[in-house]
Subunit: 252 residues, 6 copies
């Protein structure tokens, strides 16, 4: 039994509120247990300088926490005048993950800005951000389709993420909360597509190391969890998901 | 009739959700029309260096907007590496206002950090922040009283804020939304106490100037609006408000 | 009697030296009692990016203190690598005030840079800066008129500022020096035009609050003081002041 | 056949020069093909503030490239005034990896600063940095043992890293050079210990995704390559490696 | 004949106003032709961390220009968020020069902060700063002597600086104004003591090179000019100069 | 006898390795005794904004030390977020020196970026940087000549630098190592051309002053040392040096 009564292979309850903020093209509040993240997707009608003139788009992500999303208040990164290494790692991860399931050739010279702002943190903020940001991005493309700014849904497949780890007693578990994450000997974040393939695996054992067989158990736990998340995403996104993959080049 | 059907002297609907985030000592989501601000009050058991050894406390405020709280996405101040002049003005205003109704001698060497994070903006974010932050601060002191960290409620009176202005047609109005604020010839923020006195008046007419009689009309509108806000605050804070002023030195 | 023998409604002696520095288009040393500020106005033949192509100009202000303008040496903002909140507030105030009496449509795509550098501080540095900067700006426009870069004086009216406040004994006073400012319960800066209207009112009572009747007394003190400053400005600017308002749109 | 004639499972030639710079306690120039990194380990006799008084040590790493280590000159991070996200990710990775094989309780309140400076880059700079930094750290501890500042070798096991990936034609390969890395659909960095366990797995497929069976092939390639690197490390470090693990708590 | 009618070996008129600003321990306005610099010396009763506990003092200098001290307005270094290389070079030079004639062992653990702020620039701002700063520092020490904070005058000798150069026609000249400085093929700053020895020689020929015989002519011009400056300094400082050297260790 | 057995007028052994890094157009490792500097010259096909449209080129230099190039580890300037005054002084000096022997009109609108990175420091890093950077720049121009991007060698003469100083015992010495430099009363850096003229003289006596006769002795020592360095440069550069000066305007 885990500290919140879950079994080793259960996810925390997931709640998704779409259209949470009224200005962005796509906006989602995702709650995974006590972790709450606002994911906003904004469409800008130009790309960064290094991509101009190529006729294709770009997706970039930013991540932040409210100072008191955590038990101890954190100093704002704007006050410190710089973004921490942890923040940069997370926002690079979110951006990379989203780009893996979007056909950037099909969105024209546009930038999708994804903002993931953690309102309340209880472990797994980066994986919740990816799962929620995916929904916000699909909603934003839905809006572009509606006004016929783009012709086809540029999203090729589902995308979601979760964490897995190894507790000090050697037990492999799914979807760590903050207390579990603090104690875990191994911590791994997995991003997968609807097709069941990996987009990103980031596993680290600072206090310990792990074997290939432990890795396999964790990958299986992650796979099962992520399948459940896809079901949630499908419920929320409805018929938009039927258009996934319509831009995929058949001859490719 | 105003762009949202209000009369010149009506406030927008105000909705206050307490205990919105679970970590802070005091936490409030305040909604004033479409403006939504999370106000968190955190208690830290020490004061900044310049105040050490004086046996009294300090209150300081920080203010930020999510990048897509507005119609156009704003670049994060953490990415720019510096806080804008507008942000600094607002957070200095919030801090000053709160300190005017708290007896800092009664809270020991503690710092109250107030974080106002605008989730969605439609004008009046700084006045909503003050009104909401006041509630968060009272809740945080309530928690200190509960655990007997302090003996008396250090808050001396109610505190709330609103905006008033003059439209291009010369009409004075209460509680401007974003569209009104963009057009107004005069824009004024008023902070008042429960006793009906001013804590802060900030009035500016960039496109125009204003006369003393216009000023009086605006001050009256503000006074009427702020009285209604006090009623809201009392509903939300309940019996905590009965202890306001118990620290005031009778002989003072 | 005040700490420097003045009555409650007297200004400190004002001394204005024009053409103080030889490079700027307009340059003034203003001394208000022991407060000394160099105000330079520079004309640049382009506007900031956000204003290009609109055929109108812009006025922006910067404010700084020499490190030893005060009793204790302050660290330079260039060494700290950032401009403080107080500095930003003041330079935004100066810029806004000046723009309220200049018809920006009449100066073409030019930027007026106003630099207010406090050489010696004894209270009231921001209001002295506004009063002096106004003169520097008029002189700079005078130079543009002379060389026929512009056809009409774009200044519409006089502009000056002073401070008022309430001492701990409840007395309202005009033009606070540093010692008075440190003790005052209320501190208010007022910017007015020659027509007797308000451009900006910024009043704050951190240690105390103030009533509407106190406000009225302070506004009257400010009005009387500012009238005297206008007389000084007129003496210094001479016939340039006769051209004020010649650009005002009659039909507007 | 690969672009440099290697088979899919061959490493590039590795050359290790110890005592490369004369000041650091441990100094190594590691060359992996055309990638050249100077790895210096410096011992400081104190720990960062957050660790003081715990009687244990810390290892932290910094990573940089000379501006012209690459085909195009990069702007120095000191000139930009900030460290990039990529740099932060890499230096956090190096530090974490080294800490996994050092018993920090056995080094007293000391900080080991590891500096990895890339002189010439041809892919795999972060894995070469880990492999080289491990040697520099062992040499530095060797020096501490020599002067009896510490009693036992605090290193518990070998540590090395390499990259694996998937080429566009679907072939899995070991130890990617820059050209391969630019084209690869999947790029994965693996850090392992002498015991054959994983310390870190970071795999990403920006242009593509990967399956679990591809993952297994890559992990096997990495394992074979890293075993060869351990042999190199043993040659260079000699009898120091015989003392690895002597601090491991037997009862743990 | 030079562009301002001077002979090759004449200085521009020098005017020194002491006690120019009322707060600093030593304050001077120095005018060298049209170059005007405010030099303030502030005494702080502690030294920087790297010098604590040694029982001796420190002198450090900062240098800045008002944005419109020059023909073209310069962006403030506080706005740019960093100090330029030129500024750093100059303030390091001023500090070094002053430290060469002050016996830091005799001032206790105090820091002398020297601020040189250029109000108006016409060439030679760094040498005017040194000449003026020396006077401000002596005045500040005079004040310390007066209140018996120190027992002996810690200044060992006079200190002054000037510039010399070579015009395009090959003529060596003394004390270059801005126009001359812009055209000169060689530009050299010389700092000397009352004893006629060099403290600093900084000569550079970006557009050209110079021979040893040209160097000798320039050094002689500088020596003659600096002797005249010493006379000025003596007039201004009066009897304080009689105490120079009283701290010099006789046995040294 | 000096601390490393040299006579007062001997240089330390100089070793120059060309083509040290494979990417830059010109690359040199220069070793002067135990001081080792990598000097890379990169050609960029554009000039900085302030020089565009003039048809001429620019040379700029950057200088840095590896953190552990010195006995004590230095904090990276990228971590501090700013470049120190010392670094700026040195890189400005290197750039100025190189520009004095290159005919910028003959290289078209190109920028030569010179990077001097100190791997190991033992005094004289700035002069070794100049001597090595000159070789790197000539090699880079050699490459441009080879591919006929430019028609003539734009270098007009040899360029090298060394240091001289005065030891506490009054002895003048050539080419100070770190220990000598720390003790020296006078420290002077001299940059000269093949024609035996001075490009830059920077002499400073922080602990002491120096006389004109001491200056002459130091200049002679420097001249003799630099002649030996030119011989080394000629050996390394070979026939490229025969083309020096071919662009000099005969009529100039």
């Amino acid at each position: 039994m885990r500290n919140d009564q879950r079994t080793v292979n259960s996810l925390r309850p997931i709640k998704i509120t779409t259209h949470y903020v009224n200005h962005p093209e796509g906006s989602v509040l995702i709650e995974v247990g006590d972790t709450k993240v606002i994911c906003n997707a904004s469409i800008e009608d130009r790309v960064p300088p290094f991509m101009r003139g190529q006729g294709k788009g770009w997706i970039t992500a930013e991540y932040a926490m409210l100072p008191r999303a955590t038990a101890q208040r954190n100093i704002r990164e704007s006050s410190k005048g710089k973004v921490s290494g942890r923040t940069m790692e997370i926002q690079r991860l979110i951006g990379r993950a989203l780009r893996s399931v979007v056909d950037l050739d099909k969105i024209g010279e546009r930038t999708v800005w994804v903002d993931c702002d953690v309102i309340q943190a209880d472990g797994g903020t980066r994986t919740a951000s990816i799962t929620g940001a995916f929904i916000a991005v699909v909603l934003a493309f839905g809006k572009l389709l509606e006004v016929r700014s783009i012709a086809k849904m540029p999203v090729t497949d589902f995308l979601a993420a979760t964490s897995v780890g190894v507790l000090p007693d050697g037990e492999e578990i799914l979807d760590l909360n903050y207390e579990e994450d603090s104690q875990a000997h191994v911590d791994m974040n997995i991003v997968m597509t609807g097709a069941g393939e990996f987009v990103e695996i980031q596993g680290t054992g600072e206090e310990a190391t792990f074997t290939n067989s432990q890795l396999q158990i964790m990958l299986n736990l992650a796979n099962d969890g992520i399948q459940q998340i896809f079901t949630k995403q499908k419920e929320v996104l409805g018929e938009l998901t039927e258009r996934f993959g319509e831009t995929v080049k058949k001859e490719g």
